[in-house]
């Protein structure tokens, strides 16, 4: 078998599921991407499980694709609330560890390394429980279908 594959058409939207699926609701982004994967979306949409390694995943985004990030968002609304942000709306605090690379920083570094992105939209989901565990909280599990539908309509907006 040859070890190169025939080229596949480049996606126009990359949906990046961000978060840690062994930290319950922190993994909501990954769960949403997995659910979308079961729905059989078209070749113009690529789904990525980025885990907590956003910088690494951005290396795999093809040139000029729009990026829809789905991540947990810490805030003051009830669990399962869905927010839409631009990168400019997000905090960029730096810490002492490589774990603490913020989302805007990861995109800035990728741009500096030469990656050209289309539009970047962040969909944030308010978590109820961020602790060890592979199951979502009951609140998020219940709202998962609605969250997935919201993400699908954001994908449609980017493709329009």
């Amino acid at each position: 078998m040859p070890d190169t594959l025939p080229p596949i058409p480049s996606p126009r939207v990359v949906v990046l599921g961000v978060g840690n699926e062994v930290m319950r609701d922190d993994g909501i982004g990954v769960r949403v991407v997995k659910r979308l994967g079961e729905m059989g979306l078209g070749p113009e949409i690529e789904l990525m499980d980025a885990g907590t390694a956003v910088m690494d995943a951005l290396d795999l985004v093809p040139p000029r694709a729009h990026v829809l990030v789905v991540d947990a968002a810490s805030g003051d609304q009830e669990p399962g609330s869905v927010y839409r942000f631009g990168l400019e709306d997000l905090a960029t605090d730096r810490g002492v560890s490589l774990h603490e690379t913020s989302l805007p920083e990861a995109f800035a570094l990728a741009r500096l390394a030469g990656t050209k992105f289309g539009k970047v939209v962040v969909v944030g989901v308010q978590p109820a429980a961020v602790e060890f565990g592979t199951e979502l909280s009951p609140a998020l599990e219940k709202k998962l279908p609605a969250i997935v539908e919201t993400v699908r309509s954001e994908i449609a907006r980017l493709l329009a």
Binding site: G19, T52, L90, T92, V96, L109, V122, E131
Partner: protein, 517 residues
């Protein structure tokens, strides 16, 4: 007396909090606290043993490959197949781990540590034709300084031309880490969460075109390490020579070694590795006896006191325990405090007379005009990390040449009804160990001791501070409002904490404005 607290409050969990108590300008006491409950083993219990290799990669967003490696060694041992791993599989595992190690070291120096020493603002009036520097000038011009500005202001001492050169290298380093990921993907599938390192060997074998693809990229990375990374570390070291005299800490070092040169089921003794395992203190290296590893929980928020051997431990949280201030436990070796990381690998192998390590270290010390003991410091950790990268990149050329296309890459195995295994390796930031207990074909118990648990551990059962705490105590802080000295010491350890989480945090505005559903 006043207290400095370094605490990235934007994160809910998973971060490191450093508290330093100052008397005048000198740190008298230090407390390092991991804010995360260690309960990962609870998730693994009752699952298929092979899930450990995939799930433990999720423990850490910055060293998933080392977790996959340690988990796989533990599974090899528990399945009784450690001796049967074919050379191709053993080498491919080394190449995947090595690729990740190189990207981590490069990323740590440029992306995190260098900004404490290199003034990126020197590129603000750049007038030359280097595309990267022009791009950085544009970023600065638009006020987009955030990625390049440390939270704590450095005292910048490099001459302007060196600041500009190191800034250009910073941009190139971002592409080099991408090249490292491509190397990893040749044999590992993708980064993060690779699928190449599996029990019995590797999931795929070598082909001539894979080897060529790997070697071409490795050559690019090696040239960057030799021509940019090491010279930049030497330049920073020359202008911050006083940083070879601060941040030493416990001066005892422990490494599990890395890069198997022969198949084995043994955790440590009997395993032949490119970097040999061992401990180092007072100028001498000794063999590592894993029976001497214990964890105390005296100042940790868990029931009990310890110290106990990790494989025999339980993890029962006790948030209100008096005297406890961290969710990290306190690993100790032979009843003493030990530091882990690339510096430990360098010192142990130097003292053991590893010819390649000795040659590189002696040459580096001669260039910098320093004695060996100067490596036990803030700047020494950076220099040791860079030398570690060079040694690995050079060795990977040898290993990739030993691959044999067409020959086996993975041994056959079956999940046994019962078995025990221990897997040990060095992550980019130091020693990581996994212990697995299999009963009824399922995981009955799993324990992990991760690198930063050693380095950022709290006081133990004898109230001895952990390595990072010891490194901070005694430090002179010029401006308590801007404690750059402490931040530099902490960063030199390249800390990571078990189980990253990732949440976005909006700035300023009410979240209600952003709500869409």
């Amino acid at each position: 007396m006043r207290t400095i607290v370094i605490d990235p409050v934007s994160r809910i969990e998973g971060h490191l909090r450093i508290e330093a108590l100052l008397d005048g300008h000198e740190v008298k006491e230090a407390r390092s606290a991991g804010t995360l409950f260690r309960g990962f083993e609870i998730i693994l219990r009752g699952r298929s043993p092979v899930d450990a290799q995939q799930l433990t990669q999720r423990v850490c967003g910055v060293c998933p490959i080392a977790h996959a490696t340690a988990a796989t060694f533990a599974l090899d041992a528990a399945f009784g197949i450690g001796e049967k791993v074919p050379d191709n599989g053993r080498i491919i595992r080394n190449l995947i781990l090595g690729s990740n190690m190189l990207q981590s070291h490069v990323l740590h120096f440029y992306h995190l540590a260098a900004l404490d020493y290199v003034d990126v603002a020197a590129a603000a009036d750049y007038a030359g034709d280097n595309d990267d520097l022009r791009a950085i000038r544009e970023f600065i011009g638009r006020g987009h300084l955030a990625p390049f500005v440390p939270r704590y202001e450095g005292d910048y001492r490099l001459p302007k031309e060196l600041n500009v050169k190191a800034t250009a290298d910073y941009a190139e380093a971002l592409r080099i880490r991408r090249t490292c990921h491509e190397m990893l993907a040749v044999f590992g599938g993708k980064m993060p969460h690779q699928c190449g390192i599996v029990p019995g060997g590797s999931s795929d074998g070598p082909t001539p075109s894979k080897i060529a693809s790997f070697v071409g990229r490795l050559d690019t990375v090696r040239r960057f390490i030799n021509d940019r990374y090491l010279p930049d570390v030497f330049a920073v070291a020359a202008h911050y020579a006083d940083h070879f005299a601060i941040g030493a800490g416990c001066k005892r070092y422990l490494t599990y070694g890395n890069f198997d040169q022969a198949p084995s089921s043994a955790p440590i003794l009997g395993r032949q590795r490119f970097f040999q395992p061992g401990v180092y203190a007072d100028g001498k290296a000794e063999k590592l006896d894993i029976a001497q590893i214990t964890e105390a929980v005296t100042h940790s928020r868990y029931e009990g006191d310890g110290p106990l051997f990790p494989h025999h431990e339980t993890t029962v949280p006790a948030p209100q325990k008096p005297g406890a201030y961290s969710w990290l436990k306190s690993p100790r070796y032979n009843d003493a405090v030990f530091e882990v990381g690339p510096l430990a690998a360098i010192l142990v192998n130097y003292a053991n007379g590893h010819p390649l390590v000795k040659a590189e270290v002696d040459a580096a010390l001669a260039t910098a005009g320093l004695p060996l003991d100067a490596l036990m410091s803030t700047m020494g950790r950076h220099l040791a990390r860079a030398l570690h990268a060079k040694l690995i990149a050079d060795a990977m050329f040898e290993w990739v040449g030993q691959l044999k296309p067409g020959e086996p890459h993975c041994a056959e195995w079956q999940i046994p009804a019962a078995g025990d295994g221990c897997g040990m390796a060095d992550a980019p930031r130091g020693a990581v160990a996994h212990w697995i207990k299999i009963r009824d074909h399922k995981i009955a118990n799993y324990q992990l001791v991760v690198p930063t648990t050693w380095n950022a551990s709290p006081q133990d059962d004898k109230d001895r501070p952990g390595p990072m705490e010891q490194a901070i105590i005694g430090t002179k802080v010029k401006d308590p409002q801007n404690p750059v000295e402490i931040v530099r010491i902490v960063r030199s350890f390249d800390p990571c904490l078990a189980c990253a989480v990732h949440l976005v945090t909006p700035k300023g505005q009410s979240l209600g404005e952003f709500r869409i559903a």
